[in-house]
């Protein structure tokens, strides 16, 4: 039921209206151009509205219409391969309708109303169906079978269900109480979609990024944060995760960041292949782009739009990962709106409810048993952009209280072009222990030990470095110098990984194991050789070390590694003589 009122005040993206009686978070249309907005405050008989489009020229007295509905996203086939703004308007449609620049007052539905999909029923008339149950499917892309689910809160007995070609709004089935079911359903973005139970996240999200998979893994259904100053690698890391991680669906939210970074995804992803299925990466990707110069209120909404889409695919039984770049820009949108509302500011001007909002967002991650009984997950990875790179600021601190994995980016590493610039001493993963079993069963029974060894070498190196800073490395005993040498190998050969190198960009687990084991082998052989009084200088200049350093760039990695091992054996044998 629509009701009409008037604009009372306009201050940037915040409009105050009178004469309507909405509920919190109802969507309203503001002014002659019917700009979309959402009620975010009620004060006396006035409603405070955040408007998702530019408000220039709006005057007091213009009409405001309350739709009496919350902000919803459209869920159904056609989400994959789409690029949306923060409130799910498809950007290609906006371009067709308004040209190359984003103008305002255009509404466009999230899902194409004219496209037809071939629906294959999996249930039959007379079947009793419950919320979340799969009643059929459409082939959304070559590898994504899109299940059509009974919407939450709907149940009954199917009276009709028919195979055929349908648009998203046509009825494909009906319940005996008359409820029609379509390919599309809607869901309010600010509310998590229901599931049956939470499950223990004990399977890693394999990312093909050595430092992440080996040292600081995130579980499928887990949460991770990547804080770092500008230029340290937040976006590249999230792009790498979107490209190579073994999720079935990736939702990438560019929240208040650069336009060109979205263009990069759009131009690269169609040409890169998912290592698991061989299909173009775009075929499993949903993009949401609300860049820094697009309206701030829609930026605030963008992460919710993203996570709701992620949950929807989870409900089909898939493993989904959501990237949010950057959650700090979302928090700043909150702050900007809050300050226009003249709310009491908390730390650094952020509203006092920042922590609650952040944890409510990350709470939507998880490995679950879906309503239909499937094992599925949403993994959430959030970039954090601390002002001045100072991790003690409120968004970083509140995020770290919630997430289980912390990938600390370090500008010192970035400056020397050590990428990914993830600091191996300050980062952590609280999933380590839970995931050990998976790694030992699926990668190698020796994995936990190998990883422990690498971490230990790196930690000892850090301690020794403090001494080196005072006396120089030549003053250390030889076995400590060897440790520094091995640590250097771990850093330069294993931890460093070039995202822009055709081969090195993605490193499967088997290769990670081989690389790390080979470094370990070099270390063991060296220790033994030095006990036999072979000088370190001889070891440090061995050719096999050099060849190993380059093996990760080779297409024929296996072949190259074989050469390394042979060369290593002969060099050490020769040195012993």
């Amino acid at each position: 039921m629509e009701e009409k009122g008037q604009v009372y005040r306009v201050s940037g993206p915040v409009v105050t209206a009178e004469g309507i009686r909405p509920r919190m978070y109802d969507v309203v249309a503001v002014g002659q151009e019917k700009l979309m907005g959402e009620v975010i405050g009620l004060e006396g008989d006035r409603s405070i509205i955040q408007v998702y489009e530019d408000t220039s020229g709006i005057r007091p007295g213009e009409e405001v219409t309350n739709t009496a509905m919350p902000l919803m996203v459209e869920l159904g086939p056609g989400l994959v391969k789409s690029i949306y703004d923060g409130i799910q308007r498809p950007l290609p449609v906006l371009r067709d309708r308004m040209g190359d620049f984003i103008r305002r007052g255009v509404s466009a539905p999230g899902l194409d109303r004219s496209r037809k999909w071939a629906f294959v029923p999996k249930a039959k008339p007379g079947d009793k169906v419950a919320p979340g149950q799969i009643i059929g499917s459409v082939q959304e892309t070559k590898y994504i079978q899109h299940h059509i689910l009974v919407p939450p809160r709907v149940s009954g007995t199917l009276s009709t269900i028919n195979a055929g070609s349908y648009t998203v709004t046509e009825t494909v089935a009906a319940l005996d109480n008359g409820t029609p079911l379509q390919l599309m359903q809607k869901w309010p973005v600010r509310m998590g979609r229901p599931f049956r139970n939470r499950k223990m996240p004990d399977v890693p999200l394999i990312t093909g990024q050595r430092i992440l998979d080996a040292l600081f893994p995130v579980a499928k259904g887990g949460t991770a944060a990547i804080p770092g100053p500008f230029g340290s690698g937040k976006t590249v890391t999230q792009h790498q995760l979107s490209k190579w991680s073994d999720a079935e669906i990736v939702v990438y939210v560019g929240c208040g960041e650069r336009g060109n970074e979205m263009t990069e995804v759009l131009s690269e992803f169609p040409h890169l292949l998912d290592p698991k299925t061989g299909a173009p990466l775009m075929d499993r990707t949903v993009l949401i782009a609300n860049t820094s110069n697009m309206p701030v209120a829609a930026r605030e909404a963008s992460v919710y739009t993203g996570v709701t889409i992620a949950e929807y695919y989870r409900d089909m039984g898939l493993n989904v990962s959501l990237m949010a770049d950057s959650t700090s820009r979302w928090a700043e949108a909150l702050r900007e709106i809050s300050s226009r509302l003249e709310e009491m500011p908390g730390e650094e001007g952020y509203p006092a409810y920042l922590a609650a909002k952040l944890s409510a967002f990350y709470e939507r991650a998880g490995r679950v048993e879906t309503l239909a009984g499937h094992d599925a997950s949403v993994t959430v990875v959030g970039a954090v952009s601390p002002p001045g790179g100072d991790f003690s600021e409120p968004v970083t601190q509140n995020t770290l209280r919630i997430v289980k994995v912390f990938w600390a980016l370090d500008s010192k590493l970035a400056q020397r072009r050590h990428f990914p610039a993830i600091n191996w001493l300050s980062s952590y993963s609280l999933y380590g222990g839970i995931l050990d079993k998976w790694y030992n069963d699926n990668v190698s029974p020796d994995w936990t030990r190998l990883r422990g060894w690498a971490m230990e070498v790196l930690q000892k190196e850090a301690e020794l470095q403090e001494i080196v800073q005072l006396v120089g490395s030549d003053a250390l005993p030889e076995e400590q110098q060897l440790l520094l040498e091995v640590a250097r190998m771990i850093r330069e050969i294993f931890l460093q990984q070039n995202a822009y190198h055709e081969v090195d960009s993605f490193c499967p687990m088997s290769r990670q194991l081989q690389l790390l084991s080979t470094i370990r082998r070099f270390s063991d052989l060296s220790t033994r050789a030095m006990e036999g009084t072979i000088p370190l200088s001889k070891i440090a200049s061995m050719k096999s070390k050099e060849v190993l350093a380059k093996a990760r760039f080779e297409k024929d990695f296996e072949g190259e590694l074989k050469k390394v091992l042979e060369l290593m054996a002969s060099e050490f044998a020769a040195a012993g003589k």
Binding site: G57, M98, A289, G349, Q469
Partner: protein, 466 residues
């Protein structure tokens, strides 16, 4: 004629509060008539049924409550046409060169609109600036926004001018234009730019907007928007490749802070408004390229870091939006090195798109990574060498230490008029890398070492012989 109101109730800093008006649109342009007969312009920042808040571009000094206020029913527009080329305009777009007003082809809203990310085209055409630290290590591409982070008294203007003079796209000969927008810089500095533009003939292809140090601070909020509106017109309607130099963004941000304080807003870091990131983004994101259009906008914003502090909110928020940064170093300047660009904190995020085979050279990326790693290591060792003495360093360390010196002296240092092409820059990189043991060059593919490393020159020559 629009109605004139004489209902000013309060004047605070650059803001004027007006009551009892008819409905006024948000962002509307405002004309104010002072009792001394002069007029000023402003813009609506807040509008309600009770009161309107207006920000006056030229400031409120000398204004009183008897001033007459008119709401002009439209947002601020810039008259644009091709005749703008060669003109010098004030920070609010009025002629300063004694010439006539620009006869408009169009009048464009100066706020601009966000480019639809779907409509963007990836910037990837290599721009050769002739400066090794940029071309070799932080390559610029057409449509990029690459700021210069500098400090008071450092030669950022010389560098910006050298770039403007030398910048070329080796493969193309399209029309170009330069837009220069000064915000709060001194007259002397402005003249420095103007003289160079005149000397090189660039002025004919330039549009200059000048808001100088003694011009009103609030005007600085519109100057860059005028400049970018002119840039968009030339780029997207006349297919030109436009280079926009904005200087000094620090003064722009100070003006922003001043408005925030006058509005009694809750301040963010160090007193700057919480929306400064978004505000700056509406400037910087106007750089780029659009699919199906020939022109482009490349931005060179210049800012001086207060206290040389890169974590200060102005460089910090800028770095979070722009596609990298060129950082000028006081240390290198003191060592007498020009251009004193410190490559370590510098970055070009779009570099990878513009370099490599068919664009610059196949080895470009790896060479640059290797030089970075080596210089960083050598630079770190300087601290250690100062403590334990050079002699106590290992042989490996000594080589890196001298690499760092060599790099600054040979690679970073170049003349103000020296225009190095990319082959020269890459050749220089290999020459320097040749001073290190080959075993430490872990970033370089074997095939590149064989092809370009000075030590393999002999083999190459031998192989080339029949």
């Amino acid at each position: 004629m629009t109605k004139e109101y004489r209902t000013v109730t309060k004047i605070a800093g650059p803001l004027v509060f007006v009551e009892k008006t008819e409905p006024v649109g948000y962002g509307e342009l405002v004309g104010v008539a002072l009792s001394d007969g002069t007029t000023r312009r402003g813009q609506v920042l807040d509008t309600s049924k009770e009161a309107v808040v207006v920000q006056i571009f030229e400031g409120t000094s000398g204004m009183d409550k008897a001033s007459g206020v008119r709401f002009l029913g439209e947002t601020l527009k810039l008259p644009v046409s091709l005749d703008m080329l060669g003109r010098i305009l004030s920070g609010s777009g009025d002629p300063l060169d004694g010439g006539p007003r620009v006869v408009p082809d169009k009048r464009l809203d100066i706020t601009g609109s966000a480019i639809n990310p779907w409509a963007r085209d990836s910037p990837k055409e290599f721009i050769q600036t002739g400066i090794s630290t940029i071309d070799g290590m932080n390559t610029l591409v057409r449509g990029q926004k690459l700021p210069i982070f500098s400090g008071a008294g450092l030669p950022h203007n010389d560098i910006a001018l050298q770039i403007a003079r030398q910048a070329k796209v080796p493969t193309a000969t399209a029309e170009f234009a330069v837009i220069f927008a000064a915000m709060g810089i001194t007259n002397e500095e402005a003249q420095y730019f103007m003289r160079d533009f005149e000397r090189t003939g660039a002025l004919k292809r330039a549009v200059v907007f000048l808001n100088l140090a003694d011009d009103p601070a609030v005007e600085r909020l519109i100057t860059p928007r005028l400049a970018l509106t002119a840039a968009e017109y030339l780029a997207y309607e006349h297919d030109m490749h436009v280079l926009v130099i904005l200087t000094d963004l620090t003064n722009y941000c100070e003006a922003l802070r001043q408005i925030g304080a006058a509005r009694e807003e809750v301040p963010g870091r160090q007193g700057y408004p919480g929306y400064m990131y978004t505000d700056l983004a509406t400037l910087y994101e106007r750089a780029g390229k659009i699919k199906g259009r020939k022109g482009s906008i490349t931005q060179f914003p210049i800012l001086t870091m207060p206290g040389d502090d890169i974590t200060h909110p102005i460089p910090d928020l800028t770095g979070y939006i722009t596609e990298g940064q060129i950082v000028i170093s006081r240390d290198l300047h003191r060592k007498g090195i020009y251009p004193p660009i410190n490559v370590l904190p510098s970055l070009s995020r779009l570099m990878n798109a513009g370099i490599g085979k068919d664009m610059t050279r196949e080895d470009h990326k790896s060479v640059s990574d290797q030089v970075y790693a080596a210089y960083a290591e050598g630079n770190d060792l300087r601290g250690l060498a100062a403590i334990v003495g050079k002699e106590a360093l290992s042989d490996r360390d000594k080589r890196f230490l001298s690499f760092a010196d060599l790099f600054e002296d040979r690679f970073v240092r170049q003349g103000r008029e020296e225009d190095r092409d990319i082959e020269t820059t890459l050749g220089l990189s290999w020459e320097l890398l040749g001073s290190l043991p080959e075993g430490v060059l872990t970033r370089l593919d074997r095939k590149f070492i064989q092809k370009y490393h000075p030590a393999h020159k002999g083999e190459r020559a031998a192989a080339a012989k029949p």
